[in-house]
Symmetry: C2
Subunit: 131 residues, 2 copies
DNA sequence: TCAACTGTATTATTGACTTAATACAAGTAT
DNA sequence: ATACTTGTATTAAGTCAATAATACAGTTGA
């Protein structure tokens, strides 16, 4: 997968975020086996310890199952995945609205800015969805 | 003003962000004098050096004028302020759409989640706008 | 069976952010 | 005029993320 890392926040948090997104978006299908820590670390260009820490942060959510010495896999429970997808979407929406509110935007203005921006990105979006 | 600081990103970046928002939203009116670095630092509960660094990052944008030994003030040029407000809103919108796209949401689904979330936060929003 | 790979753990080192404690030159206010 | 406040700079110390280099026990595959 493609990793995007900037230095405005701890790398392990960004990895955690992107791993969860990868599962929830179906990039890593339910039940599938995940690449090893070392492999993912090499792919992302980070130290294995850092990737390891990202997984440690992902524990307890139930999305990913760890088999001590036989790698990791994505849960087959679609219910869990769907729930987290919805939860993350809500978080994003709430954070976005809060920021726009902080800038002094009314709900109507938000809708307008959003549809303008959406129009700009439209081609890319459509292409990504069908792939 | 109210400061909200978490440890997921460098404090000076968060201060920078919030200062810009405060100006752009009109909390610090155009032409008004800003509190001193020391005062703002105390208010935010951070070291003066950290607040100083936040201002350093804000230089060159033209929003804030520094008068070497007589404090800082907000520009009176509303055009600059409006431009930055728009720019920041666009950035937020673009980032939001990208994240939602990453979760596998279609533009229609995004609109739906957004209006649901908006409904939840509505009372708070209205109250804040009129104050 | 045995080499290769898995997750996991440990130790040391580097670098960035943050705090703390000052210091100084220049403008402000009483 | 003089004390106070301003932005700015410097030095030292502490914290923590990240890298690097290993190591080990258990599973997988040829």
């Amino acid at each position: 997968m493609e990793w995007k890392i900037n230095d405005n926040s701890p790398i392990f948090l960004q990895l955690e975020e992107q791993l969860l997104t990868a599962v929830v978006s179906g990039y890593f299908p339910p039940g599938s086996r995940l690449p090893s820590v070392r492999e993912l670390a090499a792919e992302a260009g980070v130290n294995p310890n850092t990737m390891q820490r990202a997984f440690a942060g992902l524990e307890g959510r139930g999305v990913i199952l760890t088999n001590r010495t036989a790698g990791r896999s994505v849960t087959e429970d679609m219910e869990i995945i769907r729930a987290i997808r919805r939860e993350k979407a809500r978080e994003e929406a709430r954070a976005f609205l809060k920021r726009m509110q902080g800038l002094g935007y009314s709900p109507e203005e938000v809708r307008q800015v959003l549809s303008e921006t959406e129009a700009e990105e439209e081609e890319v979006w459509k292409k990504d969805l069908q792939s």
